[in-house]
Symmetry: C2
Subunit: 209 residues, 2 copies
Amino acid sequence: MSQPDTKERILDAAEMLFARDGFHFASLRAITTLAKVNLAAVNYHFGSKEALLEEVFKRRLIPLNEIRQAELERVRDLAESEGRAPRAEEVMAAFIVPTVRFCCQDPQAEHFSTLVGRAIAEPDDTVRNVFIHHIMPLFLLFFDLLQKALPDLDIDTVFWRLHFSMGATTHTMRLIGKPELLPEGLNRNIDIDKLLRDLLAFVTAGVVQ
Amino acid sequence: MSQPDTKERILDAAEMLFARDGFHFASLRAITTLAKVNLAAVNYHFGSKEALLEEVFKRRLIPLNEIRQAELERVRDLAESEGRAPRAEEVMAAFIVPTVRFCCQDPQAEHFSTLVGRAIAEPDDTVRNVFIHHIMPLFLLFFDLLQKALPDLDIDTVFWRLHFSMGATTHTMRLIGKPELLPEGLNRNIDIDKLLRDLLAFVTAGVVQ
DNA sequence: GTCTATACGATGATAGAC
DNA sequence: GTCTATCATCGTATAGAC
């Protein structure tokens, strides 16, 4: 490659402009100008604007998934070594803590969380399947551990309580970095550690009841 | 009006195509073709594509909000007449039950629930802001009642617990009507009444802890 | 007032030369 | 791999028919 960092420069520019202007209003002409590459480079390297968005998304999702997978496996192995079932609170924390922390470590996080929400709601199978393909193995491990933590509940009940918890978590990520959306009279200086404790206490109370 | 239902036909077509394809990929040409009206009719009757989206939302959101408002006021007035604070579970039910039921009662409204799910997750501020603008007054009443129900908690804690509950609810609505997305081994014949009970029990446990 | 036909500028995508 | 030139389609605007 004569320009070995062309793809990276496009990804950086796209991530910045998708975050600042939104997917629709960030034009390929603006992205390629900022990245100092030719307009056609996006379609050459990525195939389409949608595929570029997907790569921007995956660049963050894959490392995050590795962290969450490692945490879930750590909880599973610790419980096994102690000859007990994992505790529901441990399982929830193993997934939720890295998820929320990941979205606070840099200014792009806000957009990443909306991308996750969008992928979940996407009606187009091809786009949604890409997301499902990356999240499903992780979700199944999460689901399996939570079933072990709650052996007295039927599988459907465990699933829906997990689903409720995921909804609470993703909805929360959407608001981090957008404190201007908080109603008047609230503390707009969000304390992430306190928020994480509150969220974990909330979902744990709902999951174990 | 020589075509008294032109606006309604545009709204029906737009609701279906916005839900199926997303706001960005549903073109005005596709919408006006499906509605059997001229392309320019959208800009004549609504002003812009974005204004059309807002009307699509308002047509369903305003009646739904009236139901939810009435339920919240009923809970508030009943508590007042009995000289007590409203109970958290009553407050949560007043909002959540009409919300979930509204999206299951007729096939047209099913498109709306898809739209709401997408609007909240949409990367475009354009789409999300339309939704937030219409839900905010209701949210503030909801918030106020929940503060009265939980007088020992500070305002920020109440807000976040409410926010977690809204996340669980909207995430759940996203899955209703799409049981094919449920993992293998789960009951795909979703029982709305049971689901509502489970969701209410979950958020109530998290809110009151 | 409503509706139609048509045109405009900008966009995402692509073919082909280098 | 990168470029230029070009294309189809997009949202929008407007002139004029009924």
